[in-house]
Amino acid sequence: MKDDAQIGDEATTNSSRRNFLKLGGLAAATATVGAGAGAGFVLGRDPDANIGWGRTEAGKDMYFNREAFEVDFPPTMEVVGNIERPEWGDYLFNRAFSLVKSIKGGWEPSEDWTQIPDLRVREYYEKYPKRWEEMLLSFSEKVKHDNNIEKHRDRFALAWAYSGAYSKGLHADFPPEPTEHPDVDDFKWVQREPKEFKSPEHASKLIKQMAFKFGMSLVGITKLDSNFVFKNMMRGMPEWGDEIPKHWKNVIVFGVPMNWDPMYAAVGYSTSYDAYYRAKMASGLMAAYLGELGYAARPQFPGNSYEVIMPPLAMLAGLGESTRNGILMTPEVGPNIRLAAVITNLDLEHDKPIDLNMKHFCESCKICADACPSGSISKADKPDDVVRGIRKYAFNQDGCWRFWNQGPTPSGLGCRVCIAVCPYTRKNNWIHALVKQAEPRDPTGVTRNALLAMQHNFFYYPDAESFHPEWSGGNFASYHQPPEWMRSEEYLKVEKTWEYDGNWEGF
């Protein structure tokens, strides 16, 4: 029989144990809440969430499992008429350079587009007469831009340096611009007999790994669809009809996102050149790799060196879908993706397109259309234009180009606001990954509506005019404020005379 003392101290040990557990439990609970908040905050700030540039050679950036969503035909590429191939004049840079040549030849632009000397450009503006006014505006806006841009160097010095560095890199001569007929030029790096692959599946598996090793974040392979090859346009050939070289069988499409923080601080602090440079280098490396194995390779890379339209091929290769602002949207990085490709005669296994319900998201979202500084993105509820037989949202190329020439970037090229404000442009931290996995799997659309309600009510978006530079009615607003390493007042001896207008950091 235990005597009272034993029962006594047993009771005390029991009660003290009980108290310890009770208080310990409370303390642990509060510690968990603190840890949850801290871990959450740090994960939000974690640079590892920045997908891109082949962070891990195993291509972990391509974390979205596409098998469950593969379809035979991309839902956002709805064919409504007979598909026509794109004309030379449909490509904006072709028009711009042709106008430059005519102006240097002494032609004086006027409000009447029928006076344009180059027939191919005239044909385009015959289809879209209203857009000629925008192109005209881009001339005068560019002059106003050049007269005002230097005044803001104090504010944007670091941003321009960052963009200038990659721009110089982009203009390096690798991969070299083709100079001869494709049948010769595409084989210039082939020294020996082509090595046979065990099977197209093996070839595709290897090529994808190599794309990741060359620094790409996303890669897809598909048959080269002739519908998206430009007519009368072949680099290295002054004259070209509409025939397609026989050895152009498959196309390897890959891409990499722009650096996240500058992109979120579009327009003034952002640049496409960092992603352009990396994508171009990767296309050169891939072309050389295929050449070493004895296969033809025709690199298509950013800046202005294409024979094909990239987004549709990327959609066919299952990288993503088409959106309201007309560029490719991927599940991993949203529209924050810059594409490059290599066309080859190597037999490869093709990827299938995917359907991630993005169509419905774009229909009810419209945030990019509201934020677009030049109002070039359609605000219709459904795709409201048919371009070369395919239904898509109307997009005013020339209006967008006009704001490129107004924007506060030194070369006056690029805007990227629609990419920055898109709800899909999210880094890979746990909360966005969770949402991106849940949304396509929910047939009822409840998650989508909840997300959009939160997006419209809880997030701050500067209005379209305020993205403009000061000389055209804005205050250099941006979706996020610029990152610390781009704020010139932190590093340079400059006097901060400006205010940042963008999402505040919450504290």
Partner: protein, 72 residues
């Protein structure tokens, strides 16, 4: 203990209410001082800047040179 809680609630909500009212007052005074409309929506064919500026002031040749050099 609940009394203390209600006391804290009282003070905190009073602070938020005063901050809210303070902001409303300075918002209204600013609005009045600036004497500009609350909100203006202007029609533009399809770009935010509605007026098409007269083009003759531009020296196109210079523009062409600068454009080519910047994008080369």
């Amino acid at each position: 203990m609940r009394k203390k809680l209600l006391f804290i609630f009282y003070i905190v909500s009073a602070v938020f209410v005063c901050v809210h009212l303070g902001l409303r007052v300075n918002h209204l005074t600013q609005l009045e001082a600036s004497n500009t409309p609350l909100f203006v929506a202007t029609y533009s064919e399809h770009s935010t800047s509605s007026k098409v500026p007269v083009n003759d002031a531009i020296n196109y040749k210079e523009w062409a040179e600068k454009f080519e050099e910047q994008t080369k």
